[in-house]
């Protein structure tokens, strides 16, 4: 069925598993922060897959034994993009939380005052 070596299979399986775990977390996760983490786990799974795919160049007995530099470069680019997106998402989340708590406080105040009236 497959020509991949067992080591590669192991890592590929792990990468896919990480993707699955992240996906589940993204769909289920009730809190936004956890969904952001889940996205990062998905990303990590995909990057890991790419690392493994790049590693194929070393594993085989070819004339040129080298990891795939193109994939490595793609991963570096992808990592920076992912962290940028995460940073932005977290900034949005922080702002959202702040807006919520700002909303909550007047609410609580109002609720607190009502019985007195």
């Amino acid at each position: 069925m497959t020509d991949l070596s067992s080591q590669l299979l192991l890592y590929i399986g792990t990468a896919a598993g990480l993707f699955g775990i992240g996906l589940y977390g993204f769909i289920v996760g009730p809190q936004t922060l956890r969904r952001i983490l889940a996205l990062n786990i998905i990303g990590a799974g995909i990057f890991m897959l790419m690392v493994v795919l790049a590693y194929r160049g070393l594993a085989e007995e070819a004339a040129l034994t080298l990891t795939d530099p193109v994939l490595h470069a793609l991963i570096l680019t992808g990592l920076v993009v992912a962290v940028s997106a995460t940073a932005f998402a977290l900034a949005l989340l922080t702002r959202l939380n702040q807006a919520k708590s700002a909303q909550c406080k007047p609410d609580q105040l109002r609720h607190g005052q009502e019985p007195e009236q």
Partner: protein, 472 residues
């Protein structure tokens, strides 16, 4: 020419960041110069054929390849012109609408991302463009302040998820074929399991990002929450980016069996989008949500055309697909600007705010109605051209009564939601009084793209020819 189109918005953004005070000026300047450059590119392409560039001068496969065909150059031109128009509108209204200074560099980046996307023919580069586009879009939405944060965050998360799905597909494809260049990949393509799964993953991600039914849930909230000029840009341009990539994948890469398997699904999704999006637009009580839902519905046309194109391989459907994209971009920009102007002036978010608008803000209302005419597909608008191509294709194919009837129904739905607003505007019994004197210039700016979409009819023959042979 391509270099100019990419470098100008890039440098524009940077200078805007350095000197925020002259940002609006720079933005308008960039957009206008880019429009001219895009026009020249279009002429160049129509004279000399497709322009292909391997970046950095490396051999194909290693280098990122850019290609400007007539469709790309048309889309670039559209992008630049809409940027210019929306920039003018934003400039005219930014004091009143408290549009942050952040708008200018972001809109310029949006232009960069879109231009890069229309040109790129490299899977990974497209991923970077997608991310750029997605983050810019979210940042633009969040300009609205507190009320927009939640939809923006939701949009961002889903958009990131979509990108990741796309990236996984790219990784699988690279693992299988070892190339990223789409033309090279197409030559080596085999319709086997990895490529199918990769295509499906990428399709899932792109459909999510393009808000194609059934993955459209984030769009109405996000587009409705954004400031008016931003909504115009988002609906007109941003959702078209992933759609473009989707078409690229399925038309250039996918093998015949893969295409045959997926075509009915695309057409079905398009139809569902048309009908359900139309119904939602008809039922929503908020004006901007109506326009946003109309985007969902109208994207259904593009999807339907794509599905039919894949199924029948009839060039008329390709023309219909891209005409829908072009016409919708212009019409939706006009709609959002007009509705934004009306709701800002009359002070309210509900559709009922439009009561009596034909009296108080006739120009904006006219712009909305004219743009709505194109959404419905009334002749001689751009929307009509697209629909005509679609109907022609279906009749020529023969025996497609089901699709024809569905299109009729969808058209009626779009007519219903457009005229729901228009009829309200003619309600003179109880007109909503403006909060301040309506301004003329923004209304004219909203009218411009609406007129442009009707003017598309004048160039219909070259447009149809161009897009028919293009088909990507």
């Amino acid at each position: 020419m391509m270099v100019v189109l990419l470098v100008l918005p890039l440098l524009g953004t940077l200078f805007m960041l350095l000197w925020p005070k002259i940002a609006p000026l720079l933005a308008l300047l960039t957009a206008s110069v880019c429009s001219l450059a895009a026009l020249q590119l279009l002429f160049l392409v129509s004279e000399q054929g497709n322009q292909q560039v391997l970046l950095a001068g490396w051999p194909s496969g290693l280098a990122i390849s850019l290609e400007a065909n007539s469709l790309s150059s048309l889309l670039i031109l559209l992008t630049a012109l809409l940027q210019l128009l929306v920039g003018l509108y934003a400039f005219a209204t930014h004091r009143r609408d408290k549009l942050g200074a952040g708008f200018w560099p972001l809109s310029c980046m949006l232009q960069l991302g879109l231009t890069a996307l229309w040109l790129s023919r490299d899977l990974f580069n497209l991923y970077v463009c997608l991310e750029l586009l997605g983050i810019v879009a979210v940042a633009l939405v969040s300009l609205s302040g507190d009320k927009a944060i939640k939809p923006a965050l939701n949009y961002l998360l889903l958009s990131l998820f979509g990108s990741l799905c796309y990236l996984l597909g790219v990784a699988i494809l690279y693992g299988a074929y070892g190339v990223l260049d789409i033309t090279v990949l197409a030559a080596r393509w085999q319709a086997d399991l990895p490529s199918s799964i990769a295509l499906l993953l990428m399709t899932l991600g792109l459909m999510l990002k393009a808000a194609l039914w059934p993955l459209h849930g984030w769009l109405p909230a996000a587009h409705a929450a954004a400031p008016a000029p931003v909504s115009a840009l988002l609906s007109a341009l941003v959702v078209k980016g992933p759609l473009f990539i989707l078409c690229l994948l399925w038309l250039q890469l996918a093998g015949a069996t893969q295409v045959a398997a997926v075509a009915p699904w695309f057409a079905g999704c398009g139809l569902a989008a048309l009908l359900l999006g139309g119904v939602s637009a008809l039922r929503t009580p908020f004006a901007k949500n109506m326009v946003a839902y109309s985007t969902v519905a109208q994207l259904g046309y593009a999807m339907l055309a794509l599905g039919l194109l894949l199924r029948f391989n009839q060039p008329l459907f390709a023309a219909a697909l891209w005409l829908f994209v072009l016409a919708h971009a212009l019409a939706k920009a006009a709609c959002f600007l007009a509705i934004g102007e009306i709701t800002a002036t009359l002070g309210g978010k509900r559709i009922n705010t439009l009561k009596g608008a034909s009296q108080t803000m006739p120009l904006a209302m006219f712009a909305f109605a004219v743009a709505g005419g194109s959404l419905i597909g009334l002749p001689p608008s751009g929307g009509f051209l697209a629909k005509w191509a679609l109907l022609q294709g279906l009749w020529l194919q023969g025996g497609q009564l089901f699709w024809l009837l569905a299109i009729v129904l969808a058209t009626l739905l779009s007519a219903a939601y457009v005229f729901r607003a228009v009829v309200l505007a003619f309600d003179r019994a109880d007109p909503v009084a403006p909060d301040f004197a309506p301004r003329i210039l923004p209304q004219w700016l909203a009218l411009l793209p609406a007129l442009a979409v009707w003017a598309m009819a004048l160039y219909s023959e070259p447009l149809l020819q161009l897009l028919k042979q293009e088909g990507l």
